[in-house]
Symmetry: C2
Subunit: 453 residues, 2 copies
C-alpha cells in the first residue's frame, strides 16, 4: 500500500487572507462595521469568539468551506453533515448578530460587512448572501448534536447546558449572516502561540521539507500524560502498512474551553516538551494548533478534525476513547463506530473515508493505553471493540486523578507524566494563578486573544 | 484496507501424510529402503537431518512444494528462486544419498523408495522422477547463497565453512533423488515439542477459531529478550491499517543450529512464557514451530519464512535487522532490501509480494528496538532505512552481551529479559548441562530427534 499526502478536503485549499494593505483598505472602505463580540454563557463568561472561526475559514483549515453558511447549507449540514457541494462537514458555521448589532449595521443581502476585532477592522464579508433568523436556538443546538431518540446508535443522554458545545449553539444571537469571509488584517500571534501556527499551506510545506509521507494527526486539548504519549507512538506504527509511519502531527485546539481543562499555553508547550526533551525525535513529531472553540461533539467533532488535519496534509488521524467528548452524552466509542460503520442517523450511511465526497485521511482506531504492572510498561488495553495486548489488569490513566495530584501541588510520578511536561504546567500555573481553565482565565483570554492586531 | 487470511502459497495446501495404517503398509510393501542419515560437518557433528524437510513438505509447510526437486527445478530455483510452476521458492530441497546407499538400495528412475528413520519406515518417495549427481557441492553451495561478485546488492563476503547453511549444502551426498514424498508413519512429538506443533491445517483452524484475521508472523531461533518482545508488539500495530492487528504467531525454527544458539526447547518455552505470564494476552499470541535446519540465508531465508508463514495463515511477516543471519556475509538489511526493492541478481526483479506467483503475505519492515534511558522504555531506534522515534542515544540489546551475562549464571535485569524467560533457560540448562547449543547437544538431538516413531 503506497501512501501520499492527501489533497485538501474538497480538492482545493481556501486562502481568504488579504495580505496586500492597499487592497485590504479598499475592501473595507465605506463598509458598515460591527464589532465581534464573544458568545457568553448565562453568567457572562466568554465561551466562543467567532474570530477563531473566521481565522480557520480564511487560512484554509476548514477547506473547502470559505464562508458563513446560508440557511440551506445549515439545513444540509444538520440533515446529512454535508456542505451544499456535497463534501462532508459536521457543524453549522455561522456569523450570528444580535438584533441591535444588525440594526446598527443597517445591512441587507447583497451588502458588504466589515467585522472589527478589538476595535480594528479584521475581516470582511464581501457580499452578504443571506440574512436569516433562527428563533429557537435550543432546538437548533439539539439538532447540531443529536438526541437519544433520533441518534440511538451513539447518543446516550439528552444534551443540556452542562455540555459546553451545546451551550455555544444555544447562546448564539438570532440573526445569521451568510457570505464569503476574508481576513483583511492578518494578525500577529502572541507568544507562545506564534511558533505553533502552521496553517495548511505552511503545514504541507513543512511535511514536504521533512520528507514525511505518512503523518498521523493527534487531536489534543490536553497536556499529555504517558497514556497519550503511548497512543501517539503506537498510532504511528498503525499508520504505516509495511513499515512505521513517518511522524505525528499534534494539532491542539486553541480557544475557549470548559473550566477544568488545561490552559492553552500549557497544552502547546507540554506537547512540544515531548520532542524538545527527547521523548519524540523532532524528525518524528511536530506541534501545531487550530483556533476553534471546542464543541465536544465526539463523532461530529471527529469529522471536523478530519477536515482540518487532511487540509494540514496528514494521511491518518488517531481516534481513541471519548474522542473530543465531555460527560456521558455519547457512547465512549461513538467516533470509532462512525469510522468503522458510519452513523446513518446523522445521514452518514458509510464510514466517512469510504463515501463519495468524504475523506482521504484514514482513521487509526485505538483503544486505551494503560500501565501494566506485570509488564512494567504502558501497554494497549484495547476497548469494547478490541482486545488487550497483555494478560494482567490495567492501571488506567484517569485525567481527574492526575488533575487531583497536580492540584495538591505534587509532581506526578514519571510513569504517569514526564517531568518536563509537569514543569510546563507549573510555568503557566504561575502566570495565571491556577493550573486549569477558570472563568477568570476565559475572561483574560477573551481580553487578550491569541493574536495582536 | 480489508485483510483476510491469505490462501496457501501456490493456492493449495500439500498434505502428503498417510494416516491409514493399511494404506501406508501397502505403500511401503516391497520397496527398497535406505536409512535416513544426518548430514555431518567435517568433524562428524550432525548439522542437518532430511527427516525435517520431509516433515515440512508432507505437512504442507512448504506448499506448493510436495516433493524433492529434479535437476531442472533446482536449476530454476538457483537462477530465479522459483519452482517449475513459477511460484517463488528460495532453496533447493533435495534428498541426497551417498554412492553406497544408492547402490545398496539398487533403485532407478520410476522405482519407489522407502526411507527409514531410526530403523523404522517413515517416508516413501512414491516414484523416483530422477536420480542425478552434483559433483561440485562447493560451487553448488555458492550458487545457493550467492557471491559478492554476482550478488553485489547484498552479499558482502564470500561464503565459507563458518557459515552453517553453506556448510550444509557443501556436505550433502552427491546423488540427488527427486520425487513426491509421503510420510507413511506420522510421528508422535516428544515433549515439549508436541504442544507447539501447528501444521498449516491446524494453524489455520486455530486462527479461525480465535477469530483472528490480521496475524503477524515472528521468525525466531532465539529466546526472546525485551527487544524481540517490543519488535513483536510494535509489528502487531504496523500490521493493522486502521486498528491494531489481531495476533502474533511466533514460529520457531526447530532443528540443528549452530553452537552458541539457544536450545530448541528453551526457545519454544521461553516464547510461551511471554503469553503464559501475561506479557502477551493468549488471545494475541501463539507459539508454533517448523522443523528445518536453519540455513541462515537472510533474504533467501526470508522467502522460505514467507512460504511457511503464509501457509500457516499469517497476513504479515515481520522482518528486522539481520533476519536469519549469521556473521557479516549479507548486508544487515538484505531482507528488507528484498522486500522493498527486490533483488534482481537473484532473479527477483520486484519485491516478492508484488510479483506474479509471489506472496500474499505482506512484509512488516522494522529496524531495531533498544532501551532509551531518557524515555525509560524500549523504543524504536530505526535502521539505515528508517529514523529513530526518540531523541536520545540507544542502549542496544546485544545478543552476545546477554549470552555473556547468562553464562556468568547471572539473571539479566528485567529491562533486558523477563525473569520467567530466564527461568526457562535455566530449566533446560539443567537438563543439558549448558545453556546453549554445543556439539554434544547436536549429537543428543540427532539421537533423539523431536519425534518418536
Amino acid at each position: 500500500m503506497k501512501f501520499e499526502t492527501p489533497p485538501p478536503h474538497g480538492g482545493r485549499l481556501v486562502y481568504n487572507v488579504v495580505e496586500d494593505r492597499d487592497k485590504a483598505a479598499k475592501m473595507v472602505e465605506g463598509l458598515p462595521c460591527v464589532d465581534i463580540k464573544p458568545t457568553l454563557d448565562p453568567a457572562g463568561t466568554p465561551i466562543r469568539n467567532v474570530y477563531r472561526e473566521i481565522m480557520s475559514i480564511a487560512y484554509g483549515f476548514f477547506s473547502p468551506l470559505d464562508r458563513f453558511m446560508t440557511r440551506n447549507e445549515v439545513e444540509r449540514v444538520l440533515e446529512e453533515r454535508r456542505l451544499l457541494d456535497g463534501w462532508i462537514f459536521p457543524y453549522p458555521i455561522v456569523l450570528d448578530l444580535s438584533d441591535e448589532d444588525l440594526k446598527a449595521a443597517g445591512v441587507k443581502e447583497g451588502d458588504g460587512l466589515c467585522l472589527r476585532l478589538k476595535g480594528r477592522p479584521f475581516a470582511v464579508v464581501e457580499r452578504i448572501e443571506e440574512i436569516y433568523r433562527v428563533e429557537d436556538r435550543k432546538t437548533f443546538a439539539d439538532r447540531v448534536f443529536g438526541t437519544p431518540e433520533r441518534n440511538k446508535e451513539v447518543v446516550r443522554k439528552r444534551f443540556d447546558e452542562k455540555h459546553p458545545g451545546w451551550l455555544i449553539y444555544r447562546q448564539l444571537k438570532p440573526n445569521f449572516v451568510a457570505g464569503r469571509v476574508y481576513v483583511v488584517n492578518p494578525p500577529k500571534f502572541r507568544q507562545p502561540y506564534d511558533r505553533f501556527w502552521y496553517p495548511p499551506q505552511k503545514s504541507r510545506e513543512y511535511i514536504r521539507q521533512k520528507g514525511w509521507t505518512i503523518v498521523v494527526a493527534h487531536q489534543t486539548r490536553n497536556v499529555p500524560h504517558r497514556g497519550h504519549e503511548a497512543l501517539m507512538k503506537h498510532a504511528l506504527f498503525v499508520a504505516g502498512a509495511t513499515r512505521p509511519g513517518d511522524a505525528v502531527l499534534v494539532n491542539a485546539i486553541i480557544g475557549a474551553k470548559r473550566p477544568g481543562d488545561y490552559l492553552d499555553e500549557a497544552i502547546l508547550e507540554a506537547h512540544e516538551a515531548l520532542n524538545k526533551f527527547g521523548y519524540f525525535h523532532p524528525d518524528r513529531h511536530v506541534v501545531t494548533m487550530t483556533l476553534w472553540d471546542m464543541r465536544y461533539g465526539n463523532p461530529l467533532e471527529s469529522l471536523l478534525h478530519a477536515v482540518i488535519r487532511q487540509n494540514l496534509g496528514c494521511t491518518h488521524h488517531m481516534f481513541g476513547r471519548d474522542h473530543a467528548a465531555v460527560g456521558d452524552y455519547y457512547d465512549p466509542y461513538a467516533t470509532q463506530i462512525l469510522w468503522t460503520k458510519g452513523l446513518p442517523s446523522y445521514g452518514l450511511n458509510e464510514p466517512p473515508h469510504e463515501t463519495d465526497k468524504g475523506f482521504k485521511i484514514l482513521p487509526v482506531n485505538l483503544g486505551e493505553f494503560a500501565y501494566s504492572p506485570k509488564a512494567d510498561e504502558i501497554t494497549y488495553y484495547g476497548s469494547d471493540l478490541d482486545k488487550p495486548l497483555v494478560g494482567d489488569k490495567p492501571e488506567k490513566f484517569s485525567g481527574s486523578f492526575i488533575r487531583g495530584i497536580i492540584m495538591e501541588g505534587l509532581r506526578p510520578p514519571p510513569i504517569i507524566m514526564r517531568p518536563e511536561v509537569f514543569d510546563v504546567i507549573v510555568k503557566w500555573w504561575k502566570v495565571y494563578g491556577y493550573p486549569f481553565v477558570t472563568d477568570r482565565y476565559l475572561k483574560l483570554k477573551e481580553e487578550q486573544l491569541e493574536v495582536e492586531l
